[in-house]
């Protein structure tokens, strides 16, 4: 398009725009000439096809890692990534809750404000205190019924066991967990929007896999986008992986009983052999102490950003009872 000269009238007043007269034929010729010039320029530009997608750029900044407090886990994964979603999965009594509580305790000890969204209301404050948690810096959100909770007389509540549930209301029923999971999603959204939390942990440890997998994948995408570029480490505790490609790191935790001195004890989990089991009596320290917790890195999207490590995907450490020295 040709530029129009701006002229002003001889008299003092508003300037006016004056376009010189041009014929339609000359305009068409000029347009065709410009188009040819542009195409020639584009053709001469080298390596247009060699543009690298932003997701594959080597210069992409690596996320800041926050130590979990467990050296073996930190050595394996580099810690918990800020601005990313980390999944910790494992079966019952695998040690997953111990890992989560220790990571939360470590973060709170370093002055960070953390939040625990407890979908199944299973958090034990005494265990957290034993792990070294700074309770004043942990926000505990208990999903579930909204009626008042008997806080000062929990033992009396213990004397009134819950009413038996019908088979339809059993753990596999999604309806039973629907309200808890709905609350958990809403609360997590609010916490992620409020910023300033060093770590937000979602405890889905008791939620059946069938119910947990019915959480829409869009929710995990939303969480991943919300936590991105924030200093918050989002950690999800679950029985099996559920966040799919939204998680940056997936860790599987499994526990087994370490071989005690002078005792012939079977392993805990998959190494369990029914024939070798016999009823035996142990002191507390023998049963709960020295449980060997194995952490396996199933996948990590941050691996190429981390420092090079020996090719090893598992690490083990031993737990101890809260009262052991």
């Amino acid at each position: 398009m040709s530029a129009s000269p701006v002229l002003s009238s001889a008299a003092i007043g508003r300037p006016f725009i004056f376009s010189p007269p041009s014929s339609p034929r000359s305009m068409r010729e000029k347009t065709a000439q410009k188009t040819a010039e542009i195409l020639a320029h584009v053709g001469a530009t080298p390596k247009l096809a060699a543009v690298v997608p932003a997701s594959r750029l080597d210069g992409r900044p690596a996320p800041e890692m926050v130590p979990s407090g467990i050296p073996q886990l930190d050595w394996l994964t580099g810690g918990l990534a800020r601005g990313c979603l980390t999944e910790i999965c494992g079966t019952a009594s695998s040690g997953r809750t111990s890992v989560l509580l220790f990571a939360l305790a470590r973060a709170t000890q370093h002055g960070e404000v953390c939040a625990l969204v407890d979908a199944s209301d299973a958090f034990d404050p005494a265990s957290a205190a034993a792990a070294g948690m700074e309770m004043s810096r942990l926000l505990w959100v208990r999903c579930g019924e909204t009626r008042g909770v008997s806080r000062l007389r929990p033992f009396r509540a213990a004397q009134r066991p819950a009413a038996p549930q019908s088979p339809a209301e059993n753990g596999s029923d999604f309806g039973r967990w629907k309200s808890q999971l709905g609350q958990m999603l809403k609360v997590t959204d609010l916490l992620l929007q409020s910023n300033g939390f060093g770590m937000i942990a979602l405890d889905l440890g008791d939620v059946p896999v069938e119910s947990a997998r019915r959480i829409p994948l869009t929710s995990w995408f939303r969480f991943r986008r919300a936590v991105e570029h924030t200093p918050t480490a989002l950690v999800v505790l679950e029985q099996q992986p559920i966040a799919g490609s939204c998680s940056s790191v997936l860790v599987k935790v499994s526990g087994r009983r370490a071989q005690g001195a002078g005792k012939k004890l079977s392993a805990f989990s998959s190494q369990l052999s029914g024939n070798s089991l016999r009823h035996s009596e142990l002191p507390h320290t023998e049963l709960l102490d020295q449980v060997e917790i194995t952490v396996e890195l199933l996948h990590s999207r941050l691996q190429n950003k981390l420092e090079k490590k020996p090719v090893q995907s598992t690490a083990s450490f031993k737990s101890r009872a809260a009262w052991a020295g």
């Binding site: 220790f102 370093h110 299973a122 265990s127 205190a129 000062l152 509540a157 213990a158 819950a162 917790i293």
Partner: protein, 551 residues
């Protein structure tokens, strides 16, 4: 030099302060018992339409566009308190002269606040920010400033020594209205001066002093000094007031949250503006609503109403000063706890505190903004319930699982290398103290190895509680549990392969809520392996239940 802030038509302006939409309308304020209500004050627009003070309500029916409001003493008190707050934000020496009038000493403020014209302009602007239109006068003595503020609209500055010249144009009525002790006395003096042919203060000032003294006594001498602008006196200085209240009386009861929020927003803005003038913030906010309810017997023709109050208190963990945050918090609180009856009066009061001062640091961990955190907590409480969100505090008792949920108010970040000590309490008998130190903030291999030496103690195995505990049927052999079947969950059943225990504990035996229990740690196989549970027997009733799972 002294300044006087005078609010003309104070009763009207006290109402317009909370209803700024009426400023463009003719407004009249009525007082008296129905149906004998009379106009006690009106604004300039109402005067221009021909309305006069003292007119009855029935006479006002001819003015269709005239807005009528009943006098509200509560709003006048709030407006006057706001005026005093504004004055005290400029000078420590403030006199509470009368409702809608304040005197303040400006001596020595020049180096701090600039020249007098600038101080006067800033003062007038600050008063207008409070929603009040004021006359402001600055003079060498308090009474001259008071007369000028009553007589001249806008901002008036009287240079020292020219008081008589500037005040001479004012009528004698202003002097008598401002200083005569009673209406009767003022009327008598007006009649006297009228008989003498004295209309202006200049004429009164020019009278010879001795004849005035002979005819009117000491009061006449005092009035003449006032007319000359030569009366000297000290201010009756007001002590610091730290009560920040706002009240609104409603003509029509409010039943919906939206109109209530609209009024609350205005009141909160006024409270925050008053606190801001004193460089203070809100620590606690109390909302008191007077509710109108009819008696249970609705068929009663008397339809008597009686008032009851509904109070909500917002205790803020840190002092804040954001009207929007307060409004949202009050909205969320009222949604969770509705008053349950129409509202006829709103009373809002705030406890003040020094604003939060925080020194930020590059190496301090991130911390949620207190205002945002409070809103988030209120919203979460609306989802899961008020008692299900907060920070945990273990109670000082041996009773298992005793804790309290407190309002979440995290303390400021401590230095990262601080030694953390904590006490472990388990079952009332197992106590250990563990100290841990963590000083790494980045996760590198070298630091990980350094930390490993400190964290070699291992991870404490955690317990996941069943809330409420699961009832269990337990087979006991040789005083030990050997087989388990959970009553609520079919997947928890089988032979107990390992047991540890029992741990016996009891407490509160002297009270009605005594407890006694026997605790076992057991291992039960399931599909994927062994699962560790805590099995408890209540020794008072002999029932077994699963308290939690070690994980």
């Amino acid at each position: 030099m002294f300044a006087c802030i005078f609010i003309p038509d104070f009763s009207v302006q006290a109402i317009l302060r909370l209803e700024p939409g009426l400023r463009a309308c003719p407004v009249a304020v009525l007082t008296g018992r129905p149906p004998l209500e009379k106009v006690m004050a009106l604004n300039d627009r109402a005067r221009q339409t021909g309305v006069e003070a003292g007119a009855t309500k029935s006479q006002l029916e001819a003015w269709e566009k005239l807005v009528l409001r009943t006098r509200s003493e509560a709003q006048e008190t709030s407006a006057h308190a706001a005026l005093l707050d504004c004055a005290q934000s400029f000078s420590p020496e403030v006199e509470d002269t009368s409702p809608g009038t304040a005197l303040l000493n400006l001596a020595g403020l020049d180096p701090l606040l600039g020249p007098l014209p600038k101080i006067a302009q800033n003062l007038a602007w600050r008063v207008s920010q409070m929603g009040l239109e004021a006359n402001l006068a600055v003079a060498a003595n308090p009474d001259a400033a008071l007369l000028a503020a009553h007589g001249f609209p806008g901002i008036t500055l009287i240079p020292e020594g020219r008081e008589a010249e500037r005040l001479g144009d004012l009528t004698v009525d202003i002097l008598l209205e401002s200083f005569s002790p009673s209406v009767k006395e003022a009327t008598r003096l007006v009649e006297t001066f009228d008989r003498w042919g004295i209309r202006k203060l200049r004429a009164l000032a020019a009278l010879p002093q001795i004849p005035v003294s002979e005819r009117l006594g000491q009061q006449g001498i005092h009035l003449q000094e006032l007319a000359r602008g030569a009366a000297l006196r000290n201010l009756r200085v007001l002590g610091p007031r730290l009560i920040f209240d706002e009240s609104v009386e409603l003509e029509d009861p409010i039943v919906l949250l939206e109109p209530l929020a609209f009024l609350l927003h205005r009141m909160l803005e006024q409270v925050c503006a008053r606190l801001r003038t004193r460089a203070l913030a809100v620590q606690e906010l109390r909302l008191k609503l007077e509710l109108a309810t009819t008696p249970d017997d609705c068929t009663s023709t008397s339809a008597r109403t009686f008032a009851r109050t509904f109070t909500r208190t917002l205790r803020l963990p840190t002092p804040m000063l954001d009207a929007k945050v307060f409004l949202k918090l009050l909205q969320l609180d009222l949604q969770a706890h509705p008053p349950g009856a129409p509202i006829v009066k709103i009373h809002l009061s705030a406890d003040s505190a020094r604003p939060r001062a925080l020194q930020s640091g590059l190496f301090l961990p991130v911390f949620p903004e207190p205002e945002k955190l409070e809103l988030t907590l209120a919203r979460i409480a609306g989802i899961v319930g008020e008692e299900r969100v907060g920070s945990v505090e273990l109670l000082d008792t041996h009773r298992e699982g005793a804790f309290a949920v407190r309002h979440f108010a995290p303390a400021e970040a401590a230095p990262a290398d601080s030694l953390v000590k904590h006490e472990v309490r388990q079952g009332g008998k197992r106590k250990k103290e563990m100290s841990m130190s963590g000083n790494s903030s980045a996760c590198t291999a070298g630091e990980t190895l350094q930390e490993s030496a400190q964290e070699q103690m291992g991870t404490v195995i955690a317990l996941r509680l069943f809330r409420p505990p699961l009832g269990a049927h337990v087979t006991v052999r040789e005083a030990k549990p050997v087989r388990l079947r959970c009553l609520q969950r079919e997947d928890i059943a089988g032979e107990i392969v390992w047991t540890a225990g029992p741990w016996r504990s009891s407490g509160d035996w002297s009270e009605q809520e005594g407890w006694s229990r026997e605790e076992w740690d057991i291992a039960v196989p399931n599909d994927v392996g062994l699962v560790l549970y805590r099995l408890v027997q209540d020794k008072l009733n002999g029932k077994w239940f699963l308290e939690g799972m070690y994980d």
